[in-house]
């Protein structure tokens, strides 16, 4: 799993560089998300702008990370597009996760929510 992390004003951004998050990649995806959650990052943005396909196992890994964090509001998604965005829509996970077009907008939403 090819990832990169950066921190911007207490908002951790985890960018996934893989084009596919399927059964082959889901285990590592789950591990990476788990590490971010375990480090106690209070807020993090998952940047999926490079991901072209996410299957049910990938979505399952994402939900597992969400459950592992005590507050669903800590995790937001940025850059989901095409089939990935559709997956969020048909599973109604767009009602569970907050989705933003870009990481900048996602981070700004965090700041607005915290009044900073």
């Amino acid at each position: 799993m090819n990832t990169a992390q950066q921190s911007a004003s207490e908002v951790r951004i985890l960018k996934i560089h893989n084009k596919r998050i399927d059964a082959a990649a889901a285990g590592e995806f789950r591990q990476k998300l788990g590490e971010v959650v375990e480090k106690g990052n209070t807020r993090f943005v998952l940047d999926l702008s490079d991901v072209e396909l996410m299957d049910s196992t990938g979505l399952g890994a994402l939900v597992a990370a969400l459950k592992a964090s005590s507050d669903a509001g800590r995790v937001v998604i940025a850059g989901a597009q095409g089939a990935v965005a559709t997956l969020f829509k048909i599973t109604r996970m767009d009602q569970v996760f907050r989705l933003y077009p870009t990481t900048v907008e996602a981070a700004a939403a965090f700041k607005r929510a915290s009044g900073k």
Binding site: A23, L59, A64, G82, T86, R92, M93, Q95, V96
Partner: protein
């Protein structure tokens, strides 16, 4: 700095002549072997109680116990029975060779021994043992793999056998369907079941992931659903199913669509599957999208049903995303409906055999997809002789 070479194998050499022992030790150690050199068969057998050499080199002619007797005892001992033995004979003792092989020797050399040939034979003996071990390990892997393939084939047969007999006809309804797993067995399942206040409930289940684990969960979900829809309205049954799956902790979730068939139409709850379609005269007059997250994901999920009219000749189509996958958009069902030929008004549901539908599914271009998803299809409709309303979708 170069890393030190790993120590080479141990060779046990047995010869009663001191000069020969010195020569054997020199040749072995120059070639990098750890040499254990002893002067009698009895001493060799004592050494073998503590050592496991890669090769044993035995002089044939020795006092007290000759090489053939040592070889027989080595072969009779489980710990050493597979250690290769090279017998050394003098050139005028070649008549002993047959006896040496009969005693268990793998190879022989006549004295005087050429150093390069001696070492080459040692290496060949060690390689033969390694090759034998690799072949045995490969055989074990192949045997295990064959057992797994047999299990998977049997699981696939059982999964297909457990599907309801299709096409099904009852109370003026006709239902057809097929399940084409992406691998041997699928995490998809279709089922027909009695439901509270409805003629029948059709259910399509698509468990996250593929293969046996997903198939096990799908079977469990189907069983739970069967119990729940018999006692509860569909939205409540789905809520309870969701709670059960969330508490189970299998880490799996299930995209589920259930449709309760009634004389006055159909009640649908879709949770995570592509839109459920109502077709009329080849046109898609209703698409029922997901109304709740797939059971097993979020404990607090609630579910709502949507009712649609379903008159004689109308078709209700439920499909898993393995059917929309070839078209690149999980929520776009029209390309799949066209590709499957389901918008053909002349199509008769009660004549659609699972094998026919499976063939239509395979023709969708799934072969081009790397690791295709399971694909499941259910088509239900009222028989054309049954009177009914033809109202539009009640959204």
């Amino acid at each position: 700095m170069d890393a030190p070479s790993p120590p080479r194998a141990t060779v046990l050499a047995v010869d009663d002549a001191r000069d020969n022992r010195l020569l054997l030790r020199m040749m072995l150690e120059r070639a990098g072997y750890r040499a254990l050199v002893v002067d009698s068969g009895g001493e060799a057998l004592r050494v073998l109680e503590d050592e496991q050499p890669a090769v044993i080199v035995l002089d044939y002619m020795m006092p007290e116990m000759d090489g053939a007797e040592v070889a027989r005892r080595v072969r009779a001992t489980p710990k050493t029975c597979e250690v290769p033995i090279i017998m050394l004979t003098a050139s005028h003792e070649e008549h002993h060779i047959e006896e040496a092989f009969a005693a268990g020797a793998n190879d022989y050399l006549t004295k005087p021994v050429d150093r390069r040939i001696f070492i080459a034979r040692i290496e060949a003996a060690i390689k033969a043992v390694e090759d034998s071990r690799k072949a045995k390990a490969a055989d074990e892997v192949a045997e295990e793999w064959n057992a797994i393939r047999t299990d998977l084939g049997e699981a696939a047969r059982v999964q297909q056998a457990r599907l309801p007999p299709l096409p099904a006809r009852f109370d003026g309804w006709a239902i057809a369907g097929a399940l084409v797993p992406g691998r041997h067995v699928g995490g998809d399942l279709l089922d027909l079941m009695p439901g509270l206040g409805v003629d029948r409930v059709v259910a399509l289940i698509d468990v996250s992931g593929h293969g046996l684990a997903a198939a096990l969960v799908a079977a469990a979900v189907s069983s739970q659903l069967r119990t729940l829809v018999a006692a509860h309205p569909l939205p409540e049954a789905m809520r309870l199913l969701n709670l059960d799956l969330c508490r189970e902790g299998s880490g799996k979730y299930a995209c589920v669509a259930v449709a309760g068939l009634r004389r006055d139409g159909v009640e649908i709850v879709n949770a995570g599957l592509p839109p459920v379609a109502v077709l009329r005269d080849g046109e898609c007059v209703a698409e029922v999208e997901g109304a709740g997250v797939p059971p097993g994901m979020i404990e607090t999920s609630e579910y709502q049903s949507q009712r649609c009219a379903l008159g004689p000749g109308d078709r209700l189509v439920l499909m898993s995303d393995g059917l929309t996958e070839p078209f690149g958009a999980p929520d776009r069902i029209l390309p799949a409906l066209d590709g499957l030929g389901l918008r053909d008004p002349a199509l008769r549901i009660d004549e659609l055999q699972p094998s026919d539908l499976a063939e239509r599914i395979r023709r969708l271009g799934r072969a081009r997809i790397q690791d295709p998803d399971d694909a499941t299809l259910i088509v239900a409709g009222r028989s054309t002789s049954d009177a009914g309303t033809r109202q539009g979708a009640e959204r």
